[in-house]
Amino acid sequence: MIGFATRRFVQAMIVMLVVALLSFTMFRFVGDPINQMVGIETSLEDREALRERLGLNDPIPLQFYHFISRAVRFDFGTSYQFRQPVSELFAKRIPATLELSFTSALFALIVGVPMGLFAGLNRDSSISKLFLSVSLIGISLPTFFIGILLIFLFSVTLQWLPSFGRGETVQIGSWWTTGFLTVSGLKALVLPSITLGLYQMTLIMRLIRAEMLEVIRTDYIKFARARGLPDRLVNFRHALKNTLVPVVTITGLQLGSIIAFATITETVFQWPGMGLMFLQAVQNVDIPIMSAYLMLTAFMFVGINFIVDILYFLIDPRLRVGRP
């Protein structure tokens, strides 16, 4: 177990290094960073001095080393547009994105798992067929379109829910702001998290359904039924738990992509999160923000994958014992 965890950790580090290299390359070679920073009237001498001060004349491996050692301390330099440290900008935005992602992942699981279970256990019922048809919409409609539809229906026509922003937020600790504690904050969460989570929900539902169909055909489920166990035990304790290994994998990966691809939803709903900031950074060629966003997203992906790998051990006892 420890050996396995260590190995995975080393692999995760390698992935992060490669991403850092990409990020560094972008930072260093997409356009001249000095041109981005200074005005048009800065003299050549001043530019050269700035270049020297920023270490841009050092050998490239040394620059990369400096880049990494700063990145480890979350120091990604100063944003070109805002003239503020990138880390501070992110700290302000991260809570919004994480709360949105968390809510939509929760939504996807809470709705998707029972629907998948139902459809898997009653494959021929008309309700399961309805679930499947509806889920097709979730998969085939693009996220932004669903968002706009929802805004049109619930904000414009019915006027039940706000169409943009986070509502009122409450400050917790020095840097975390939450929308969970106010009514307007919760209301504001509904539409964006459904928009963001719909695709994942469909995916989870279909995955669980397919896995359940597979598992209920196995001998141990037949044997459990032949022992007279009630359906509740057979379906939930035996069948559901055995479907979980692939579901956990996909859910883990999807959580990563929820965070990463919140960009579109955040734009549609003007959600003040990292994704929106990233999009603005792209428009303004704000390289420090872009490279920091790249690093942060990769870090979350890798971290979530690492956790998923560890979860396998908790679910499947066959992995726990070392092979003979």
Binding site: D219, K222, L229, K241, R323, P324
Partner: protein, 573 residues
């Protein structure tokens, strides 16, 4: 009163076009403390009878007629909930494959306790106590310790004991065992059968054993019911039915069982069972394609010489050699295979017999030792052309005819592939002619070439495998359990076919099986393997009449008694 009474049971599976009658008008009964055997080949409907009794027929199958009584109470028409309460409580079930019938993610304890508490009003603590007693009763050592483990920590035989304990959780009156020992080795099989016999007598349980294995039937049952295509063809006391079978089907079934006690030239095949297909013409090797251009270098002495063969698999990798762990699959094995003979390798699962087959064919590289094919050292071949030439001379027939044929290729393409690959024919017309010819020789008929593998039964697929193996005109054929997935009557046909082909084509064979009876009928000389080591090599009759090694003697003793069957054979002869 009988514990179980089945009257005129008919089970139907409605299909898209027609209704398939899986069980047709079957009447049976089982008494307390007695064992009823239900025997038949695949598709005979024997498992369906068991499933109908316990109320677990696969959709859309349903009971179309007849009555089932448990202790005089009619149970086939009970509503779902009440049927469920019978399962486990009154009727226990044992399944075929112990490796898949336990939930891999739950400990043995939690599976036992949940079953006990479903049926009996016990506290968690009492249920655990009872679970430990049950595990002890089915003969698992250290019950209190092992009960907390997961199924994968038990061996196959031990898992089947757990399955039996689960079936007995709530003291059922009837136990249905569906092929309880088919997936087990002969020594484990003997133990499990012994256990079932003991439990049946001790607990006064009525038992219904569903199997295709005549040996099992002869060994433990009091009564036997023989089924054929959904019908009950013969039913009575086991001695009576096996000793003096009445119905022609029973006679044919009994006579098709390979005999470990006497060597016969050919397996008796009875036409009653399945038409063997188009008549096979004899091959005259001197003029036939299969004999043509057998440009093999002449060999004096044995064709295959294996010396000090070692094979180990790394089970834990490490960059430090001292920390690596290995599993020794084959240890210092040496033997010769003479030209034209059939050399048998027998042993239980994990004894390394299949590993040897893979080493000889070059699928694995041996860790140490040499394999000489004629004068050529196989492990030293580096040049791709030489390797291919060598592979052409040896072909393999695998155990599972379902997974060893590519399901997306037509049969004629499957057989033509090796011919094209080794460039053994001059043009497409010739390839076609050869394929047709081969299909004819293995008894499938040329029309079979247009079909896909899934259109054939297991026995027919194994014929396709044989045709494919012959397509390269080999002189050495390796058969790895070629018939263990097949019914006895089909097995007899396939083994006869192999014998004929060997004679006609002067093939040398390495024949691997766990079935001593089959080995005796097929082989000239036999090697007995255990834990990767070769215990004994001797001539066929000598091995069975005067075994030298204690393990060989043990194996021979474990074979189900064939006394009843041999009497039947004398009667039919």
């Amino acid at each position: 009163m009988s514990v179980l009474e089945i009257k005129d049971l008919t089970v139907e599976f409605p299909g898209r076009k027609s209704v398939f009658v899986a069980v047709d008008d079957v009447t049976l009964s089982v008494d307390a403390g007695k064992i009823l055997g239900v025997v038949g080949e695949s598709g005979a409907g024997k498992s369906t009878v068991g499933n109908a009794v316990i109320g677990l027929l696969q959709e859309p199958g349903h009971i179309a007629g007849g009555e089932i009584f448990l202790h005089g109470r009619r149970i086939d028409q009970l509503p779902y909930r009440q049927k469920r309460l019978l399962r486990g409580r009154k009727i226990g079930m044992i399944f075929q494959d112990p490796l898949t019938s336990l939930d891999p993610l739950q400990t043995v304890e939690s599976q036992l306790v949940e079953t006990i508490r479903t049926h009996l009003p016990l506290s968690a603590k009492q249920a655990r106590q009872r679970a430990v007693e049950l595990i002890d009763a089915v003969g698992i050592p250290d019950p209190a310790e092992r009960i907390g483990q997961y199924p994968h920590q038990f061996s196959g035989g031990m898992r089947q004991r757990v399955v039996i304990a689960l079936a007995l959780c709530a003291e059922p009156e009837l136990v249905i065992a569906d092929e309880p020992t088919t997936a087990l080795d002969v020594s484990i099989q003997a133990q499990i059968l012994e256990l079932m016999k003991k439990l049946c007598a001790e607990r006064n349980v009525a038992m219904m054993v569903i199997t295709h294995d005549m040996g099992v039937i002869a060994d433990i049952t009091d009564h036997v019911a023989v089924m054929y295509r959904g019908r009950l063809v013969e039913y009575g006391e086991t001695n009576q039915v096996l000793g003096a079978p009445d119905h022609p089907y029973t006679r044919s079934l009994v006579s098709a069982v390979p005999r470990p006690d006497i060597k016969v030239d050919r397996f008796p095949v009875v036409d009653y069972i399945e038409k063997a297909g188009a008549p096979q013409r004899k091959i005259d090797i001197s003029s036939h394609w299969l004999g043509k251009a057998r440009d093999f270098s002449a060999v004096s002495g044995p064709l295959v010489r294996i010396r000090d063969l070692d094979m180990r698999f790394e089970t834990r990798g490490s960059i430090f050699p001292s920390r690596r762990k290995y599993f020794q699959a084959v240890r210092k094995v040496s033997f010769d295979i003479e030209q034209g003979e059939t050399f048998g390798l027998v042993g239980e699962s994990g004894s390394g017999k299949s590993t040897i087959a893979r080493l000889v064919t070059g699928l694995y590289q041996p860790t140490d030792g040499t394999i000489l094919f004629g004068e050529t050292e196989l492990t030293s071949l580096k040049n791709r052309k030489d390797v291919l030439a060598m592979r052409r001379q040896m072909q393999m027939i695998f155990q599972d005819p379902y997974s060893s044929l590519n399901a997306r290729m037509r049969v004629k393409e499957i057989i033509a592939e090796p011919i094209r690959f080794h460039k053994l024919a001059s043009g497409n017309a010739e390839v076609r002619r050869i394929v047709d010819d081969l299909l004819d020789h293995v008894g499938l008929g040329t029309a079979a070439g247009q079909k896909f593998p899934h259109e054939f039964s297991g026995g027919q697929r194994q014929r396709i495998s044989i045709a494919r193996a012959l397509a390269t005109r080999p002189r050495f054929l390796i058969c790895d359990e070629p018939t263990s997935a097949l019914d006895v009557s089909i097995q007899a046909q396939i083994l006869n076919l192999l014998k004929d082909l060997q004679e006609e084509l002067q093939l040398t064979m390495l024949f691997i099986s766990h079935d001593l009876a089959v080995i005796r009928q097929m082989c000239n000389r036999i090697g007995v393997m255990r834990n990767g080591e070769l215990c004994e090599v001797s001539g066929c009759d000598q091995l069975f009449e005067a075994p030298q090694h204690p393990y060989t003697r043990e194996l021979l003793e474990l074979m189900p008694s064939m006394e009843l069957l041999s009497r039947a054979n004398l009667a039919t002869a």
